[in-house]
Each structure stands twice: as C-alpha cells, then as structure tokens.
C-alpha cells in the first residue's frame, strides 16, 4: 500500500523533472514555415539539378554589424532572356538583418527577402545584409525559381518551372560552436553527479541492512526521508543538497575558467558564458551556501539549545522541500541554451527585456520559492531560539554558533521579502506584462537595484556570519579555552547585523549617487570593519594561554583566519570611492568576494564538517586525509584567487566572456602578463576543485569503515556533546543521573538562571501571558 504510493510519487516526480528538463519548444529556432522548409514547391514538386543558385558577396567570416551587399542569382532552368517572367528568389538569413536596395526585391521581415512583381524577370538581385553584433552561426538558405514564362503576370502557369536551393553558413570573428555544446557538457556532468548521488544513497541503504535490500524495504525508507520533519533528517537533506550544488557550481566555475584561460577564447560563446556566470552565482549562493548553513543549523541548533526539535517541524520540512523544486525551476532552460543570463544580480531593465533569455522567468520563479523557503526558515529559527532554550540558558548563555544563526536568520527574514517583492515584479513584468521596469512607461531601473541590494548586502552577511559561529566554536574547543570576549562577540555580531542594512548603497556608488550619500555610505561601510575586527582579535586572543590541539577543523579555522582577514582587508579598498571608480566591476571585486565567500564561508563549512561529522554520523573522519585536503585545497585556493586582485587593478572586467591583451601589434585592454596569470588561475582552479574530492572520499571512507565516535571527541561544552553520536532518533540527551531527557544548563559563572536581563524585563512587561486569560481582553 505504502510502497505503491511512494512509487507513484516518485514516478510523478521523474515525469515532472523530465518535463521541466525538456527544452522549451518555443525557444528553439524552428525557422520560418513555408518556403524555407518546403521549398518553392508551388513551382514544382522537387528541386531541380539543372538550376544552380548562388549567393555572392558574403565574407569568410563577418565583422560585427557590418553591412554586406549580396547578389543572389541563378543559372540554368527554362528561363530565357526576353520572357515576361524569368525567375524569382527567396532568401532567408537566420541572424542579422536583411534589407532591400530597390523595387525588385521586397522585405518580408528582417530575416527574409524575396522578389517583387517588378523584379520577377531577372536572374539576379542585390540585397543588403547587416551582420549581427555578436558571434553567431549564421545560416543562409536561398531558394531560386527559374520560370519558363508560359503565362502572363504573377501567379499563373507554373508548369515547366524549376527551382533549386543553396545553403551557406558562416560565422563571426570568433567561431561559434553549436549552441548546445557546453550545455551538453554541463548536463552530462550534472546527470553523472546525480547518478553518483543516487548510487551512494542506494549503497548507504544497503549498508544499513544488507539482508533487507529490496523495494518493500527501500520504499518506506525513502518515504520516511521524503516526509520527515525531524531536524536531523532535514539537516542531512539540506547538507547533501548543498554539497551537490556546491559541486555543480564548481563545475560551472571550471567551464568558466577554461573559457578565460587564454585571451580571445572561443570555448564558450558570449551567450553561453553569460548563462554560466549567472547560474554559477545563483547556484553557489542560493543552492549551495544557504542550504549548507541550514544543514548545520538544523542539525545543531536544537542540540545546542537542549531542545527536542525546532519550534515548527512541519514548516521546517516545507522550507527544505521548496528548495529542490526551486532548483528545477532555476535550471529550466539551461539545457536548451536559454537559461537565465542576467547575472545573479539580475539588473533591470535587462532582466525584463526580451533580450534576456526565457530561462530568466523561471529563474525568477525559482527564487521566489527560495524566498518563501528562507522566510519560513528565519521564522522557525528565531522562534526556536526565543522560546526553546533549555532551563539555565539565558540569551547570554547560548553557544556562539547559535547566536550566529540567530543574527543571520533575523537579517535574512527582514531583508529577503524585499528581494521577493522585486522578483515578483520581474516575474509579473515578464509574464503578465506589468510595467514595474518598463522604461518607456516611466519604470526605474534603480528601484530594482535598491530592492535587490537592500537584500543583497545583508544576504552576504547572512552567508558568512554562521561561519563566524562555527569558527568561534572550533577555535575555543581546539584551544581548550572559553571563547575570549563572549559578550563582545555577541554585540559584534548584532552590530554587523544592524549595520548591514544601512551600507547597501556601496554596491551603487557608480549609479548616479549624490555626493553626500556617497560619503555617508563610505563611512558606514568602513565602520563594519570595527565589529569584524573585534571578532578576529577575539579569536586570536582565545588561543592565548590555551592548549591548542591540532585537528583538521583547527587547521581550517586557522586557514579561515588568514583568508577571511585578507578578504576583509581587500574589502576596505572599495569604500574609498576614488578607488571604487576604478575597481568596481573588475576582478578585484571577484577576488574580494571569493576570499570572503570561499575563504570565509566555505572554509568555515569545512571546519564545521570536520568538527561535527562524528556527532552527526557516529564515525570519525580520517585526520590524515583531512590534513591532505587542507593543504592541497588551501594552497590551490590562494593560487586561484590571489592573482585576481592584480588582474582587477590592471583593468580586467567582470562578466566579460573574454579579454584581450596588448601585444606588439595591437592594443588590448590588459598588459601581456595578464594572459599568463589567467592560465595560472585556471590551472589552480582545477587543482582546487579536485582537492575537494579528498573530502568527499574521506566522508565515504568514514561512513564505510570509520572508527566509532565517542559522545564528545573534542572536549566541547555545549549540549550537542551531551548526547550520543549520532543522537537518538528522538533527540534526547544523556543526563547526569544516567537517564535520557532534556537538559538544564549549569553555569560556571555567577549567573542566576531564568532571571531576565533589563531588556528582556522591559519587553516582558509589554506582553500578556496566556496563563490566566479566559474571557479577558487581550
């Protein structure tokens, strides 16, 4: 019974996935019906060999936007000089724009010309073709008709006529591959990864109980995972999904780097490249980083608070399941070459223009679902931390990872609705034709910029603050000390959370801002360095007087301190606006945000993985493999991103599918050394990408034959270390008297449990409790 239902659901899922993955029909150029496909068969059923059609005047490869005089002509067939009618033609060009020179030809549309009544007694015609402004594969199809003139006027007497056609293809200065190629590559790699994931899942299930490896056991197990509201299972789902998309985003990055390895490369066309960097950004932030944060948060927040689960378990499941379906929407159109190509920032009015590919609408729709998911997550975690802390745990006794998730979630659910509204505006503009960003109707592109960056800036802090929390935990535990300056750590995170909302203007310095606002934003942006600096110094001071034990998570935390500090320092260059005017949209920006996002967020994730893996899975990871992972990844990562600072200062622009260096013969936009550095970066990128497979391998080996993990392998103090590894199916803790239950926090400091501080007391006086209110007013 249940197996059938699950089967049905899975079949439905596959069907829907297949439907969504199919290229959307309207986006493939099916060409113009009629002449181009069927031929001039009004004049004869089949083409004739005795008529030879030709097009003269086409170059080997066209120059952008250049106009060419084309002469279309034919020889042979029954047409004769002196007849009333001699022949006709139909020329179709797949790209570019055709235009007519005289009354002997007529323009049907910019892709098609043909002869007119006045021109039906010629053997050749001249038309003009203007080449496209971008690289395309252009196909010309010329149909010619040689008539024997056995009737007057147009339309009559088609017997005895013969027609023929010729097809010519050419490209622009940069030769273009067939549209699907890199997408075939991407698609194959994604399918391969997904298959590996499926095989891994099947294998994990097999290992649970080799004797029960059949559908009747598998279906309920799968259904349990698909319907679970348990924070641990949902945490694992988020984590696996996040890791999968981290790989997908990495694959996209590799393809981008191949394209950028040499100047003037043609591995990707411009349109393909634009889709790749859009999806790389969107995937990494929304489908990799945020889910992985949620993975850690789902697992650890109830454990750290000493709770049994989150406040709203079914809503938690809802938050998760919105994500894979959103991912399907976001990737729609990719495989047919029409994925979103707006950049992850999706600036208006390009994002609502017809030039932006069809996949943009689905990209907006998918992200609307992610906004809903994040809002629900924010509500859930804020409520949980406000109401489900264990007895003895006041606000100032929460572990710092919990604080970091709290600050991140508050920032998230207050900022993301603005993004959601912007996305709905874009979706509606593209679907039902509203005019939010219609310039002719008075729409304002800066409105999108404000809505987006009001979200976008807090978002990048949302993504990095949980890593701060992880690093605090890891450094404190590794040093065998309490974190230095707990209270200032809390205030610093809260300060970052508040200031995040007022600095978003620094993304818009070059968008026509008033000088006063530029100054204010400059100052506030630089001020963010103060709380961040406090945190860095506190982390360093935590090691002081400690007994630092080196494990892999320790290495990653120290690595984080190096790379995040470098990223933060490079970030300080931008608020100085006279430097920003040069550095904005250059590779200096790319270097900065990859240092804080990868060197900050992802390295924090790695530290968290090595730190909490034993707790979540009950198995230890191999330290040897961990050290190897750290060394290879850390070195290749710095080799990958550090040179980008220099490339940015030299003038290499972001989002350009290629670049040109100055040589002896020609002026380009970059010095010659830039080419070599780009190749160096590409090679480092591949090394970095593959080095992370050591971690994946480590995870697999640990699952199969890792040694069993004790409750508290590292000597931490928070509640997650007070339960078994892994925790029981219903989250419970090992209490001092040997029983299982919910814990109470003790405090080594003088602290009176449950006595609210001044802020809480004031707030409490505003509320009315539910206890003794029956019919009374509330």
């Amino acid at each position: 019974m249940v197996g059938k239902r699950s089967k049905g659901a899975i079949v439905a899922l596959v069907v829907i996935a297949a439907m969504l993955a199919l290229p959307s029909a309207q986006s493939l150029p099916v060409g113009i019906s009629g002449v181009q496909e069927s031929g001039c068969n009004c004049h004869g059923a089949v083409p004739s060999d005795s008529v030879v059609a030709s097009i003269d005047g086409l170059p080997e490869s066209y120059n952008y936007s250049e106009a060419y005089e084309l002469t279309v002509s034919f020889q042979g067939g029954p047409s004769q000089e002196g007849n009333v009618n001699q022949g006709g033609f139909h020329l179709w060009a797949s790209e570019g724009a055709l235009s007519v020179n005289d009354a002997t030809s007529q323009l049907y549309n910019q892709n098609e010309v043909g002869h007119t009544d006045a021109g039906n007694d010629q053997l050749s015609w001249t038309v003009t073709w203007t080449a496209p402004a971008t690289d395309k594969n252009v196909d010309f199809v010329l149909h010619v008709n040689s008539v024997n003139g056995n009737a007057d006027g147009a339309g009559g007497g088609t017997s005895g006529d013969m027609w023929s056609k010729v097809t010519i293809s050419l490209g622009g200065p940069i030769e273009v591959l067939e549209a699907a190629d890199p997408f075939v590559v991407l698609g194959v790699l994604i399918i391969v990864s997904a298959s590996l994931l499926a095989i891994t899942l099947a294998y994990v299930f097999y290992r649970k109980d080799p004797d029960a490896f059949d559908w009747d056991h598998f279906a309920p197990w799968l259904a349990d995972w698909m319907t679970s509201t348990d924070h641990k299972k949902i945490g694992t789902l988020y984590f696996v999904a996040g890791l999968f998309f981290l790989g997908v985003g990495g694959i996209m990055a590799m393809i981008i780097r191949i394209q950028l390895s040499v100047p003037g490369n043609d591995f990707l066309t411009q349109e393909q490249y634009n889709q790749f960097f859009t999806l790389h950004g969107t995937t990494m932030i929304f489908l990799a980083a945020m889910p992985m944060i949620n993975g850690f948060a789902n697992w650890m927040i109830p454990l750290q608070l000493g709770a049994a689960d989150l406040a709203l378990p079914r809503i938690n499941a809802m938050s998760f399941w919105l994500q894979p379906f959103a991912a399907l929407l976001i990737f729609t159109g990719v495989f047919s070459g029409h994925g979103a190509d707006t950049g992850w920032t999706g600036y208006a009015p390009y994002v609502v223009s017809e030039g932006a590919h069809y996949g943009t609408t689905m990209w907006a729709a998918g992200q609307i679902m992610l906004v809903a998911s994040s809002t629900l997550t924010g509500i859930n975690f804020l409520t949980t931390m406000a109401v489900m802390r264990a007895p003895g745990m006041g606000w100032m006794q929460m572990p710092l990872f919990s604080w970091s998730i709290l600050v991140a979630n508050v920032m998230l659910f207050l900022s993301i609705p603005a993004f959601g509204v912007g996305l709905i505006q874009v979706y509606l503009d593209r679907v039902v034709g509203t005019a939010f960003y219609d310039i002719a109707a008075g729409g304002d592109p800066l409105l999108w910029s404000h809505l987006f960056w009001y979200f976008g800036h807090p978002e990048v802090y949302v993504v990095v603050v949980p890593s701060f929390g992880i690093i605090s935990e890891v450094i404190a535990t590794s040093s065998r000390r309490s974190i230095f300056g707990y209270r200032s750590m809390v205030y610093a995170m809260a300060g970052i959370g508040i200031v995040a909302f007022i600095v978003y203007g620094h993304h818009m310095f070059t968008s026509g801002m008033s000088p006063t606002l530029r100054f204010v934003t400059m100052l506030t942006t630089m001020l963010v360095a103060v709380p961040t600096g406090i945190k860095v110094f506190n982390w360093l001071m935590t090691m002081h007087g400690g007994s630092l034990v080196y494990r892999t998570h320790t290495l990653w935390a120290l690595g984080f301190l190096v790379t995040f500090t470098l990223g933060g320092i490079s970030g300080m260059f931008f608020p100085s606006i006279a430097m920003d005017t040069h550095l904005h949209e250059s590779y200096f920006v790319v270097a900065h945000f990859h240092y804080v996002l990868v060197g900050g967020t992802v390295f924090g994730f790695f530290a968290g993985i090595y730190y909490w893996w034993p707790k979540a899975t009950g198995k230890m990871l191999s330290e040897k493999l961990g050290v190897l992972h750290f060394l290879t990844a850390f070195v290749s990562y710095n080799a990958l991103f550090w040179p980008m600072h220099r490339l940015g200062v030299w003038g290499m622009t972001r989002r350009h599918h290629t670049y040109f260096v100055t040589t002896e013969e020609a002026l380009g936009s970059l010095p010659m050394e830039a080419a070599g550095w780009n190749m160096f970066i590409t090679v480092s990128a591949f090394l970095f990408f593959f080095s992370n497979f050591i971690l994946v391998f480590n995870m697999i080996v640990s699952s199969i034959r890792g040694e069993d993990a004790p409750d508290d392998p590292w000597g931490g103090w928070s509640f997650e270390w007070m339960t078994s590894s892994p925790p029981p199916a219903h989250t419970l803790y090992k209490l001092n008297d040997g029983s299982w239950g919910l814990p109470t926090l003790k405090d080594a400091n003088e602290h009176i449990a449950n006595e609210p501080g001044w802020l809480s007391s004031w707030f409490q006086r505003l509320l009315v409790t539910d206890e003794d209110t029956e019919e009374e007013s509330h």
């Binding site: 300056g485 968008s511 002081h544 500090t565 003038g651």
Partner: protein, 240 residues
C-alpha cells in the same frame, strides 16, 4: 602598474601601507599563537575556564583589550575616511563652481593641472555626450571644435570596429550620459573612472585629460548589458 592614475595610486599606496600593518599584526599574532600555545593532548594548561559538558564555561575576557581593539580600528577608519575625502570630493565635484569651475565659454580652455596627490583642477570644462546602447558606444562632441574633441571609428585587431573619442590633453570634459536601452557603464581604464548609464535618466562623468595621460587607452563596458557586453569597447585617444 601603468594603469593606475596618480589619484588612485596615492590612495592605493596609503591603503596598502595600513593593510600591511594590520595584516602583519594579525598574521604575526596568529603565527605566534599557533605555535606557542600548542599541545599534543590538550593538557598543557589546567582547565582554567572550567570547560565541562553541559556547563557554560567561565568568562574569558579583558575589558581593556577589548576596548583597545574597538577604539584603535575605529580611529584608523576615521583616518582613512578623512584621507579619502579629498579625492572623493574632487572626483564628484559639482558642475557649478567645483574644482573644474564652470562650463567653458567660447574659446576658453581648461588648462587643467594635477597636484602632487593626483587631484586635477581646471579653469573650466567642456560638455560632451555619451550614449550607451546594446552593444556600442556613441560619442557626441556637441559644439566643440575638432581640436578639442573629435570622434571617429577604427578597426582594432581584436575588437573589430570601435568608436574612437579623441580628446585634448590638458582639457577637462564633463560627459552627460544616458542609455537607450539597458544599463551600461563606460570604464575609462586609464582614467580609473566609470559611471553607470541608465535609460530614462542622465548621469555625469568627469573626464579630466591631464598632460601626462596615456595616448591610447581602452573604454570597456563595465555593467552587464547582455550578449555582446564583453566586446562593447571604445578607444580613447588623448591628443596634443
């Protein structure tokens, strides 16, 4: 690095100086503590913070240190903001009597000078127009004579046909800019400056061509605008 303008270089060097100091402190401290306080088994020092599972450990703090590393970075930031103020003021100077004065009268010239910090001042400025569209730049010299401003096209080996803007050294120009379709941004690489062009609105950009300006430099599009964003280039020629 030849592409840095003097104003940029001045700021850059100063920021690098402070970055190195902050970096040296942070990384030196990290390096030291990573080696000085290690322990094989975590038992180098007794459990001063009373770390025990299920017990919130003793506070580990020092008010004076925390105040110190709040105040000192704050002061540094105030200093850097102050240091950045003058360049900011110069690059966004008002078109009505700012560092570049007012629009030049007929026959007047800018005679711009660059001071030791790279800040340029002029007697007056000339107005030109730049229009961005998918996917090329349009320069309009308005009523300026050829010696002050000239436009043309050139076929570059790598970019193909690009528009050329030829401006006079020692003269300062104010570009009034607009877009015909989506957002673009001309990045005058060797001037180290860019500003978005927006549809339906006008933005402005100062182009002070100093005497020491590179003769030929590129203008690239620096705000993603669709398919041919990468090759939407132009050339800036600074003539005598």
């Amino acid at each position: 690095m030849s592409v840095m303008t003097p104003i940029f270089e001045g700021l850059w060097d100063h920021y690098i100086f402070w970055s190195v100091i902050v970096g040296a402190i942070a990384f030196g401290w990290l390096y030291h503590h990573s080696f000085w306080f290690t322990s094989k088994d975590g038992k180098k020092i007794p459990n001063v913070d009373e770390i025990e599972v299920g017990v919130f450990p003793k506070h580990n703090d020092d008010m004076r240190l925390e105040v110190a590393w709040t105040i000192l970075p704050f002061l540094l930031i105030v200093w850097l903001t102050y240091y950045s103020w003058e360049p900011l003021d110069a690059m966004w100077t008002s078109a009505d009597g700012g560092v570049h004065g007012y629009e030049c009268e007929e026959g007047q010239v800018s005679n711009n000078v660059m001071d030791s910090n790279g800040i340029i001042t002029s007697d007056c400025y000339h107005v030109i127009e730049i229009t961005g569209q998918q996917w090329f730049w349009n320069f309009d010299c308005l009523e300026l004579n050829d010696s002050l401003c000239d436009t043309g096209t050139e076929t570059m080996e790598v970019y193909g046909s690009v528009p050329v803007l030829s401006l006079k050294k020692g003269e300062t120009y104010l570009a009034i800019m607009e877009s015909v379709d989506v957002t673009h941004a001309p990045w005058f690489q060797h001037l180290g400056t860019k500003e978005d062009v927006l549809p339906g609105q006008q933005t402005t950009l100062w182009l002070p061509i100093s005497e020491s300006m590179t003769e030929e430099s590129m203008v690239l599009c620096a705000e993603y605008c669709g398919d041919a964003h990468s090759i939407m280039a132009a050339k800036l020629v600074a003539h005598n």
